[in-house]
Amino acid sequence: MPLLELPELAEWRERPVVTSGFRSLDRLLPRGGVARGSLVEWLADDEVSGATALAAAVAVGMATAAGETVGGTILVVDRGGRFYPPAVMPWLAAAGVGGRRPQCIVARPARDDDEVWAIDQALRCPGITAVLAWPRQAHPTAMRRWQLAARSSQAVGLLVRPGRARREPSWAMHRIAVAPVADGALGSRRLRLTLVDGPWSVGGLAGHERSVEVAIDLVRGREATVAEHPLIRGPHCFRQAPPQVHRPAHVPMHSQEGGRACRAS
């Protein structure tokens, strides 16, 4: 059940809105984008749903837009130590073409209370555009602190949480359930986004889509179109192909035949 009261909802409507970088996602959101100073919850039933990739892509897009004037910094609160930056670095590099590249900073708290504190501190900082986190514990008190911190600084909190959190109370402005769509394309990822109960239901905003499908270009971290990138193909089965080999530069290359590579000496 949404916790935001009507006065806060009215204040939320006055805040500036930024595009998420995904037109499909913007159509899903009530105001056509993500309101600054708010929390967005991404609810994923498993760990391979693609919610993190989508949240990271949205963060990069928002930081790119913010970097032209102020800030442009993303802070990742990685409590579990599993965030792999090389997956996101090409997105940052691509976003920086023609302007300033967004900055990505990672914080790895060792304890749950440190994680809660770090998210709160990051959301309070006016120089931070987006905070990406996977909070293990999101007690309503802690989430209320985060919501107030984000409102004070106009930062956006992108919280990826398990699907069972749907039944828990939340202070997030938007709650989006993410489910993967099997398509087989290597360079892209299709996801189905469903809007969960949010504060707009209190105001009775009707006429918005409840579920959309979005495609992420995993190469550049933005919305994908089929014809844009040669790596994006339709679903296909595996074919035995010569392996792509990565070796250090000074190791002499061995010849390859069919799908096998010679054993290293």
């Binding site: 590099a93 073409v97 590249r101 550049r220 035995q240």
Partner: protein, 611 residues
């Protein structure tokens, strides 16, 4: 018998800049000063990469001088002409010209002198031999301290190596007097026949002929006590003489220190001026040359001792914080008066000794605070200390509180604007806020827990990135100024990966969509894996196709599609050779996993998830 160690930092103005900008090592760097009528004179110059290449081409022979001899005082135009003759016009176009900054050079040298206190407590800067010269040597009084390092030879070697590890090229020499040590440091390759008191065997630094493969540039020398014979053959310039005196000596055929020593002492001053006699006396040790360490006036400290021990458990913390704010404020005010900010601060709580039986409880509690940017805000520093205090086990009572500034740096200057809402002002404010946030995060989580990931050109996924201390980027104006100077920041280096300013390099592009957002710290072995059979039905480790089914997290996943293999073979020098075939597999429910097969035994592992 006093013993002095001299650490000579050749071309220090250039070395200081190379420490700040390591990417300049591949370019010729000139440090020049502007004289009358706009003439530019070379103060120092260096081309580090060219020197290394020439050293390799010489077959390991010690190359003491740069490939191109450009002396101090040469006009910049002439120096560029000489560089062009030796290395072509492209070297001139790529050369960097920096203005001389003696103050910054001295401050950096003083900072290094404080670092060298690990060798001995008394470290001083040399007095330049010429008026207007730049100090390039550190004098360390190692009397009765060499034993802690295993002898003077070991001490000199340790000093040279530790400085080299920091990226500083240095020559080290030990002698009885500062003058003698200075001469030995500047001519370490010519200090022959040196003997150490402990080892007793001669050291011949210059090997010839068949021993050429053992030749290494000698960077340290130890002159035995009570003898100047090993230095007798050094040129007279090693006595720190001016050009006029050297010219006068050259006229009469005096070339070496030994020749000078054989001259009658009584007539030296009248024939060659008072400088020669003074330098000779300093060289032999008959004239004292006191060492004056740099003053620490810019590193203030403040302390407060209680008349009676104060308990921290009876509301004493409420007394502690205001006192801490006052002491930190005093230090900040002193530092700010010099236009600087604090980068490192130490707070010490002295516990009470009365009634404490255990030694552990009487140990002082020391809190070291570091900030990413020089801070002039006492409130910010006190907040960082408060965060650390919350994590520590404080003593029951304390007798005193001390605050000491460990390091300072020039504070960022910002010109205030009359009208608010200016974009540049907002950008600078946001950067400052981010810096303060990083300080708070590092203060509570630890400096190693807050970092900025940087890509590394390594095929092995675990080593494809590195965590660097989170630094706050400069505002756009400063970045543009740095770009005009030819400064290449990490952000600009990434531009090298772009093709025509539009796309990514092919290698990065190919790997971009294949890397999961989540990677396990260690690959986890999968329980059961069924693989696609290859043609012929044979299946052996190293063969086979992608997995058809695997079991993970107590669930069996059916693979619908797989992409790969992406074979990664890493270098053997890092340990056991890594040979893996990676697959991006997509299950029937749309989830994606990153698996690999270890080619050594065919075992399957889960390495990442496309979360």
């Amino acid at each position: 018998m006093p013993r002095v160690m001299t650490i000579w930092l050749p071309r220090w103005p250039v070395q200081r800049r190379l420490l700040e900008h390591p990417e300049w090592r591949s370019l010729p760097v000139f440090v020049c000063r502007r004289e009358g009528r706009g003439a530019m004179r070379v103060v120092s110059w260096l081309w580090a990469q060219a020197m290394q290449q020439s050293r390799h081409r010489a077959g390991g022979q010690a190359v003491i001088e740069a490939p191109v001899q450009i002396l101090e005082g040469t006009s910049l135009a002439e120096a560029m002409a000489m560089l062009s003759l030796a290395h072509g016009s492209r070297a001139c176009h790529a050369a960097l010209v920096e203005h001389d900054d003696p103050l910054a050079d001295r401050l950096a040298l003083e900072k290094l002198a404080r670092w060298c206190r690990r060798f001995a407590p008394l470290v001083a800067l040399e007095n330049p031999s010429r008026p207007g010269g730049h100090p390039e040597c550190l004098m360390v009084d190692i009397t009765n301290t060499a034993g802690f390092f295993g002898g003077e030879e070991s001490l000199a070697r340790t000093a040279a190596w530790t400085l080299t590890a920091r990226g500083i090229h240095a020559r080290v020499a030990i002698a009885d007097a500062p003058g003698a040590a200075w001469a030995a440091a500047h001519f370490t390759h010519r200090v022959a026949g040196c003997k150490t008191l402990s080892e007793g065997k001669p050291v011949n630094p210059v090997a010839t002929g068949r021993d050429a493969w053992r030749r290494r540039p000698r960077r340290w020398a130890v002159v035995p006590t009570a003898t100047m014979q090993p230095l007798a053959h050094l040129p007279a310039a090693a006595l720190r003489l001016d050009d006029r005196t050297l010219a006068a000596l050259d006229e009469v055929g005096v070339e070496s220190i030994g020749d000078v020593l054989r001259l009658p002492r009584k007539s030296l001053a009248s024939r060659f001026g008072p400088l020669l006699a003074r330098r000779l006396a300093e060289f032999s040790g008959s004239r004292a040359e006191p060492l004056e360490p740099p003053t620490d006036a810019e590193l203030p400290h403040a302390a407060h001792d209680f008349e009676v021990p104060v308990s921290l458990r009876d509301g004493g913390e409420a007394l502690l914080m205001p006192l801490l704010e006052r002491l930190v404020g005093q230090c900040v005010a002193e530092v700010a008066a010099h236009g600087k900010g604090i980068t490192a601060l130490q707070v010490r709580l002295d516990p009470g000794r009365a009634g404490d039986a255990t030694r552990q409880s009487t140990a002082p509690v020391v809190i070291d605070i570091g900030v990413f940017r020089p801070s002039g805000s006492a409130r910010h520093l006190v907040d960082l200390v408060r965060l650390r205090l919350a994590r520590l086990r404080l003593p029951r009572e304390i007798e005193g509180l001390a605050v000491e500034v460990i390091a300072v740096a020039a504070a960022d200057c910002r010109q205030r604007v009359l009208f608010s809402g200016v974009a540049g002002e907002a950008a600078a404010d946001s950067l400052l806020q981010v810096a303060m946030l990083l300080d708070r995060l590092a203060g509570r989580l630890g400096r190693g827990a807050v970092f900025e990931p940087q890509p590394v050109a390594d095929a092995q996924p675990e080593h494809a990135w590195v965590a660097v201390p989170a630094g706050v980027r400069q505002p756009a104006a400063a970045t543009a100024a740095a770009r005009r100077r030819g400064d290449r920041s990490a952000a600009d280096r990434s531009a090298a990966d772009r093709i025509g300013g539009r796309g990514l390099a092919p290698a990065r592009l190919a790997a971009a969509g294949r890397r999961p957002v989540w990677m396990l710290p260690r690959p986890v072995a999968l329980e059961t894996v069924s693989v696609m059979p290859v043609a012929g039905g044979r299946l052996s480790p190293g063969d086979g196709g992608p997995p058809l089914r695997f079991r993970w997290n107590c669930e069996t996943h059916q693979v619908a599609r797989a992409h790969g293999p992406e074979r990664i073979e890493t270098a053997w020098w890092r340990g056991p050779c890594v040979r893996r075939d990676y697959y991006v597999v997509e299950t029937e429910t749309g989830g994606r996993y990153w698996l690999f097969r270890r080619l050594r035994d065919g075992a399957w592992f889960l390495h990442g998830m496309f979360a």
